[in-house]
């Protein structure tokens, strides 16, 4: 199985790492970039496929040259055999549409120059944009089937099909099983859990994990960077110029009041107490 995992660098929103200015705007320069947390599940799904059926996993991302570290994190923390970074000044300020066009060009270029792809894995939403659009749009551009909200996955390499359990409406109480032909696009849900029920799978998993950690230490040797010419993309259709959506402004989410007052009402004295307590506030609101 030949798998590609799409991943994205996002600001590290974890406590202590993230930095906001006085107006509540993210300070991008002071906040480190990390791999989008949801992408871990996509990587886990690709690793599970490789453990069970063998094969090759490539990480792919679009972003500035520094995003090589994001691909390195993907390699170190879960598993990839090599990394492909789509990086070019012309790609700056891409919206989800322009990103999808670029990523699909990356997948096409990969098919033409490296190998045919069986599976593309993507995580469920990025922690910064939270649009959930880029994966499906990329898939649309590839004209492949897509299975989203996947929580469990089984591949039949002989039949060249996959069978997946997916959440319907994101609800754990409603799970459907679907089948799709390969090549296929798979979006993993954060509920995805890889399963290894045999000793040989676990031993393979352990061996692959230790190999990928070693490989990640020399990540540059395994990283290929493609610019818009490698991808055969017209600069008018990518980056800011190729982005139909424009973010006009960003408003901080108002903070919830940090202190609240709770007054215990004696139930035996009934609603009159409640009314009496509420009265001053009602008067205030009426003014």
């Amino acid at each position: 199985m030949r798998s590609i995992v799409l991943t994205k660098g996002v600001p590290d929103f974890s406590e202590g790492a993230v930095s906001f200015d006085e107006d509540g705007h993210l300070e991008r320069g002071k906040t480190p970039t990390v791999m989008n947390p949801n992408d871990e599940f996509a990587l886990q799904a690709a690793l599970q496929t490789t453990v069970r059926h063998g094969g090759h996993v490539s990480g792919m991302s679009m972003g500035p040259p520094g995003y090589g570290e994001v691909l390195q994190e993907a390699m170190a923390s879960v598993y990839t055999d090599d990394s492909y970074l789509l990086s070019d000044r012309e790609l700056a300020a891409s919206d989800t549409w322009a990103t999808a066009i670029t990523l699909s060009a990356g997948l096409e270029t990969y098919q033409e120059t490296v190998a045919d792809i069986d599976l593309v894995f993507a995580g469920f939403k990025t922690a910064d944009g939270e649009t959930g659009q880029t994966g499906p749009q990329t898939c649309w551009a590839m004209e492949w089937p897509i299975v989203t909200h996947v929580i469990a996955l089984d591949i039949d390499p002989d039949e060249r099909t996959l069978r997946a359990k997916r959440l319907v409406e994101g609800d754990l109480d409603e799970i459907e099983t679907v089948e799709a032909p390969l090549p296929c696009f798979v979006v993993t849900d954060p509920e995805f859990e890889p399963t290894y029920r045999t000793a040989s799978h676990r031993l393979t998993h352990k061996a692959l994990r230790s190999e990928t950690e070693e490989r990640a230490a020399e990540h540059d040797d395994h990283l290929t960077t493609w610019d818009h010419t490698d991808l055969n993309l017209d600069p008018d259709y990518i980056g800011l110029d190729g982005s139909p959506t424009i973010v006009s402004s960003v408003d901080p989410i108002p903070k919830a009041p940090s202190e609240r007052e709770a007054t215990m009402i004696d139930p035996h004295k009934g609603m009159s107490d409640v009314l009496e307590t509420m009265q001053p506030y009602a008067a205030e609101a009426g003014e």
Partner: protein, 557 residues
């Protein structure tokens, strides 16, 4: 054999020293070997007092099997060995280095997390080369049988696995040994319980206060009246930058006296003798507990059934006679011999051939004779009979006692007697050896210690709070079968993480009023459990280990 089941030539359950030795030796023989360890890393479930011996007479030692073992995985070589006979503040010390060095090639203090984790890495490398490897966080929960015959293992995390050889190195609470009907958990008198504190001390402070060099280490044993008359003793071993201080008691004696193990440990920790070493600084890194089988009584003479062989604690191979405590070395020998037995009988159609050969090797190598000395068996028939014990106790308590023990000739003879492996192997497990005689020696010959101890050991609650747990919420691994005080009340005190009037432990008693009558019931919360197995013996429980990777995780061990 079923086609769709996984099969390995050998499955080794547990990656402590016994399992590691078996696996390494199997890999040497080219055997495809899978090692299953229930901890998240080998050593995370293991505790020992802390001395590992390499005996001159042993066929295998850990540094034979693992190059660089002592440099990488042990704390300090033990070069001095003392026993302190204590009566109040009066202490008489005997130098037992001669006994310690008898048949000893080397002896090192160890901490199990570091040691076993190092072994795991080596074992994984070696077994990977013959088509296997080590898997952690996998709990083997029983034996796989076909037509009544043992053919493999079943696990919580994996599909059943078949094997030509199954090595149960799953420790003192071996679920496989029980499943095979080879061991039971019935009698408290067959077990010891040890509790231990690992205490911080800077390397140069250790060198200075114990008067040793940086490449030297010391062991101190303690017996006498500091443990409320409970049969057992204490120990202190020097690690690289910490001390292992603990107590080991006969479980039946703990139960009889309803003694609290953590309090007995505190009695040692706060004794003035230790104050001279602590200098009023005390920081406890970890509190731990473990059951220890008494090999004299339970070392299995034929530790196999079908394809299953038992090694180490799982087979009761833990030699504890007076001041000699040897367990890990025998587990190593047994593990390696089990592997050799399998290699020697490969191709034999009888599935029990390796087990039979292993039993012969245990006998031929002299291992079984160390675990179950004939001298002890002979001496025990009179020594542990109550009448004899009582008679000796009466003599020691009488005016003749101090006279007999107290003269200068007796003093010299006693030190010689303690140093005699021959005499030590006959020591009966009665109050006389542990309490009465040491107390009398200290009273007659001891020096009074004038230090005061200001040490305040952590409370049990703090000790539990400092331990690391990955609790398997909603899936307790122990169930109380009988919650009456008669059946299970002993666990409230004997459990090392429970105590009377303490609500934060595993076991507690509750007064329950029903229809006007009040009865005392025992209740259980397994969250603080350190998986020692004490309650499996002293209470009426359904006892299993937690699932792979769950439960307590020792950092020192």
């Amino acid at each position: 054999m079923t086609d769709d089941r996984e099969h390995y030539e050998a499955v080794v359950v547990g990656c402590g020293p016994g399992g590691a030795a078996a696996a390494a030796r199997l890999a040497d023989h080219g055997v495809e070997t899978l090692v299953l360890e229930r901890g998240p890393e080998a050593g995370s479930k293991n505790v020992s007092g802390g001395l590992i011996y390499a005996e001159e007479s042993a066929p295998y030692t850990l540094d034979d099997l693992f190059d660089g073992f002592r440099e990488a995985a042990t704390e300090r070589p033990i070069t001095d060995y003392y026993i302190h006979n204590v009566a109040g503040n009066s202490v008489k010390t005997y130098d037992l280095t001669d006994l310690h060095e008898h048949d000893t090639d080397w002896c090192d203090a160890v901490l199990r997390r570091d040691m076993d984790a190092w072994l795991e890495t080596r074992v994984h490398e070696q077994t990977s080369e013959t088509g296997g490897g080590v898997l952690t966080s996998v709990r083997v929960n029983g034996l796989l049988r076909e037509h009544g015959e043992i053919v493999g293992v079943t696990c919580d995390e994996l599909e059943p696995i078949e094997a030509d050889l199954i090595v149960a190195a799953d420790g003192v609470n071996s679920e496989l040994a029980r499943d095979a009907g080879l061991m039971d958990w019935a009698e408290p008198e067959e077990w010891f319980q040890g509790v231990k504190a690992v205490v911080d001390m800077a390397p140069d402070a250790i060198d200075d206060r114990f008067d040793i060099g940086p490449e030297e280490g010391t062991a101190h044993l303690f017996s006498g009246d500091l443990f409320e008359g409970v049969r057992g003793g204490g120990f202190l071993y020097t690690n690289a930058d910490s001390l292992s201080i603990g107590t080991v008691f006969h479980l039946d004696s703990l139960v009889e006296q309803a003694a609290e193990p953590h309090e007995l440990l505190d009695a040692l920790l706060t004794h003035p003798l230790l104050a001279g070493w602590f200098k009023n600084e005390y920081h406890e890194r970890e509190y731990a507990a473990k059951l220890v089988p008494d090999s004299k009584k339970v070392a299995h003479r034929r530790p196999y059934r079908d394809r299953l062989v038992l090694v180490g604690d799982a087979a009761g191979q833990m030699q504890a006679q007076g001041p000699i405590i040897k367990g890990m070395n025998h587990a190593v020998t047994a593990g390696a011999l089990a592997a050799d037995a399998f290699a020697a009988t490969r191709g034999n159609a009888d599935p029990a051939a390796p087990g039979r050969r292993y039993t012969e090797l245990l006998d031929d190598s002299g291992t079984m004779a160390k675990l179950r000395p004939r001298r002890y068996d002979l001496a025990r028939t009179i020594g542990e009979r109550d009448a004899v014990t009582n008679a000796v106790e009466r003599v020691l308590a009488s005016p003749i006692g101090p006279l007999a023990v107290g003269n200068p000739i007796a003093d010299r003879l006693l030190q010689r007697a303690y140093n005699s492996p021959f005499l030590v192997s006959m020591l009966p497990d009665t109050k006389t050896g542990y309490v009465s005689l040491p107390t009398l020696i200290a009273e007659a010959h001891g020096k009074t210690i004038h230090w005061e101890s200001d040490i305040e050991p952590p409370t049990l609650e703090e000790r539990i709070g400092d331990l690391t747990y990955d609790t398997d919420v909603g899936n307790p691994h122990i169930e109380l079968r009988d919650e009456s005080a008669e059946a299970s009340g002993a666990a409230v005190t004997a459990c090392p993480v429970s105590a009377r009037d303490f609500g934060g432990g595993c076991y507690r008693t509750e007064a329950v009023k029903t229809n006007g009558t009040e009865e005392t019931l025992v209740s259980l919360d397994t969250q603080p459990c350190v998986e020692c197995g004490t309650c499996a013996i002293v209470a009426d429980t359904e006892w299993e280990h937690p699932r792979g990777g769950k439960g307590v995780e020792y950092r020192e061990g």
